[in-house]
């Protein structure tokens, strides 16, 4: 039987939704029992949120002042200390998970699977490669612990109403001091989080300046949407890095994605493959974004967007 450990992701006392998506992925493995581990300075409020996720049997906490920030070199040995109780260790394919999980795998002497989008059985998984141009089925050896990151956009969050037991895990390992947290400059603000928003409006190079990009924020606010950007828009300084959508940015799956002045390069499209409905507004009828858009409008964005906003 599979015993799966999921590493909780959290910030400022709030559990990240990607953790419930990992639970949903784990529950695809028949007969699996699912535990969540919370590493934090003060795990209690986060553990309570984790215990409420349906399908979780037990939440284990590792409290330590050194766990205040998710530093891979500090978290990894603590996870390894309890890993022998499990057949699988999962983390989300977020920047926290991508940073941490390979370090855990290497300490355990095993390979790591990145971005799993489907679990066919306990040791067979699907994942995208070449910017999503191909999907490969990968088999992990049966006799080894499976360490993987879960592509959050491929799974709906597991529901609430759970009532898992919460207990402290006794972990006594020496933690390194060679890596020190300095600070975090958070972008975002009050808008819905890009990775969980129901609607996302993204702007591309066509906006032409940070000032003009405000049109995208206004449009998004009108739709109560999160805001994304193409890499060209981020590189040009129109939008902050945490808004980049795509192969090297965020992979998202909103119900509605509105691409404004974005050409639709493969590296961008790989980030929105799982969106429910894609709307494209682009003045070039030949732009590749129209090959994937459910609804396309060939128009100058500076005319079309204000017109849409006025009509809403």
């Amino acid at each position: 039987m599979s015993k799966i450990l999921i590493i909780a992701e959290h910030l400022n006392g709030q559990l990240n939704q990607s953790t419930a998506k990992c639970v949903s992925c784990a529950s695809k493995i028949a007969g699996a029992s699912i535990d969540i581990v919370v590493l934090a300075a003060d795990p209690a409020p986060i553990a309570a949120q984790a215990a409420a996720i349906a399908g979780v049997s037990r939440v284990r906490t590792i409290a330590n002042a050194a766990n205040a920030n998710a530093i891979a070199a500090i978290y990894a040995p603590q996870v390894v200390a309890i890993a022998s109780d499990y057949t699988h260790v999962f983390g989300a394919s977020t920047t926290v998970g991508k940073d941490l999980m390979p370090r855990i795998a290497a300490l355990l002497g095993v390979s790591q699977l990145s971005d799993i989008m489907a679990a066919d059985d306990a040791h067979t998984f699907k994942r995208p490669i070449y910017a999503g141009n191909a999907i490969v089925t990968v088999k992990a050896p049966a006799g080894q612990i499976v360490v993987a990151t879960v592509r959050a956009a491929s799974f709906a969050a597991a529901g609430g109403g759970g009532n898992a037991t919460i207990e402290a895990a006794a972990v006594a390992v020496a933690l390194p001091t060679h890596t020190r947290y300095v600070n975090l400059q958070q972008g975002g603000g009050d808008r819905p989080d890009l990775q969980t928003a129901r609607i996302v409006v993204s702007g591309g190079r066509a906006l032409g300046s940070a000032d003009a990009f405000k049109l995208i924020y206004d449009f998004a606010d009108k739709l109560k949407a999160g805001v994304g950007a193409s890499r060209a828009a981020v590189d040009s300084g129109y939008a902050p890095n945490d808004m980049q959508v795509g192969q090297t940015g965020k992979i998202i799956a909103p119900e509605l994605y509105v691409a404004v002045g974005i050409s639709g390069a493969i590296q961008h499209l790989t980030g929105i493959k799982d969106a429910g409905t894609i709307v494209a507004i682009n003045k070039d009828a030949e732009a590749p974004i129209f090959e994937v858009a459910d609804i396309g409008l060939v128009a100058d964005l500076f005319k079309a967007v204000p017109e849409i906003m006025a009509a809403l």
């Binding site: 910030l11 530093i71 891979a72 920047t95 926290v96 991508k98 940073d99 941490l100 390979p102 370090r103 795998a105 290497a106 002497g109 095993v110 390979s111 790591q112 990145s114 490669i129 070449y130 999503g132 141009n133 191909a134 999907i135 490969v136 089925t137 990968v138 088999k139 080894q144 060679h178 890596t179 300095v182 975090l184 400059q185 958070q186 972008g187 975002g188 981020v234 590189d235 890095n241 945490d242 192969q247 965020k250 119900e255 509605l256 493969i266 590296q267 493959k273 409905t277 894609i278 709307v279 009828a285 459910d294 609804i295 396309g296 409008l297 128009a299 079309a304 849409i308 009509a311 809403l312």
Partner: protein, 248 residues
């Protein structure tokens, strides 16, 4: 201080890779190959650190077939001091790559190892983190700014919620994101000058590295295709279509 930089040979990012009809792999015979774009950025950063007097030598490493010597040639033309090709005819997985790099770290004792945050073929994003674990040193992944001051590096990382800054003691492993720098262009005289630079070839089999190739790819498939949609003629029609889908 020495800096070790990894240069992976990958299918050029402009190539639209196709899955073979029998599902046995992706068709990459004869397509354009390049240095992984992230690795060019890694090398550029190493060269800038050397030019700023923070490092003395930049060594580029590629693990792959003899053809990967082309990427080492490019790295030397960009300005690296010397190159090491670790030869193997079999594609290797990140754990093996990390173990090979760990061997080279043991031999060369670099103060920094700079790698790409992900290779654009397999998109794994693992090697730097695994290497750091194996040599029990700090990792600073997804770097968009690197400042070296004596035995400490201050690294700004592009994370989901914004920009995080870490301070790490050297030796350390850094993986770079796209906005760290813009790699320099190679000029013809650089290519000529690079011809005389030292290139070493090591057989992977001779390094005594235990294989970490535990995963088996059993099938390749093209991604699910999205249905081609409709093009609406104006804004009212767009709003109508969104309302019809219950999205507005």
């Amino acid at each position: 201080m020495k800096i070790l930089v990894g240069l992976k040979r990958v299918v050029d990012y402009t190539v639209r890779v196709q899955v073979k009809p029998d599902g046995s792999g992706v068709a990459i015979d004869g397509v354009k190959m390049s240095i992984n774009p992230f690795d060019e950025i890694a090398l550029e950063e190493a060269l800038r650190l050397r030019e700023a007097g923070k490092a003395t030598e930049v060594i580029v490493v590629s693990i792959g077939q003899q053809t990967s010597m082309q990427q080492i040639d490019t790295g030397l033309a960009m300005g690296a001091n010397r190159g090491i090709l670790v030869k193997t005819d079999k594609p290797i997985q990140p754990l093996t790559a990390a173990r090979v790099l760990a061997k080279l770290v043991e031999k060369e004792q670099p103060g920094l190892v700079i790698l790409g945050k992900q290779a654009i073929d397999d998109d794994n994003s693992q090697t730097a983190q695994m290497l750091a674990a194996l040599i029990d040193r700090p990792q600073a992944t997804f770097a968009s700014k690197v400042e070296v001051d004596g035995n400490v590096a201050r690294v700004t990382r592009e994370v989901d919620v914004g920009l995080e800054t870490l301070e790490v003691d050297l030796p350390a492993v850094i993986s770079v994101d796209l906005r760290l720098n813009t790699p320099r262009f190679i000029k013809l005289p650089d290519i000529m000058k690079a011809k005389a630079k030292p290139r070493e070839t090591l057989e992977l089999a001779s390094l005594g590295v235990e294989s970490g190739d535990h995963l088996a790819a059993t099938h390749y498939a093209p991604p699910a295709k999205r249905q081609k949609g409709v093009v609406v003629k104006d804004v009212p029609e767009l709003i109508g279509a969104l309302k019809a889908k219950g999205l507005l």
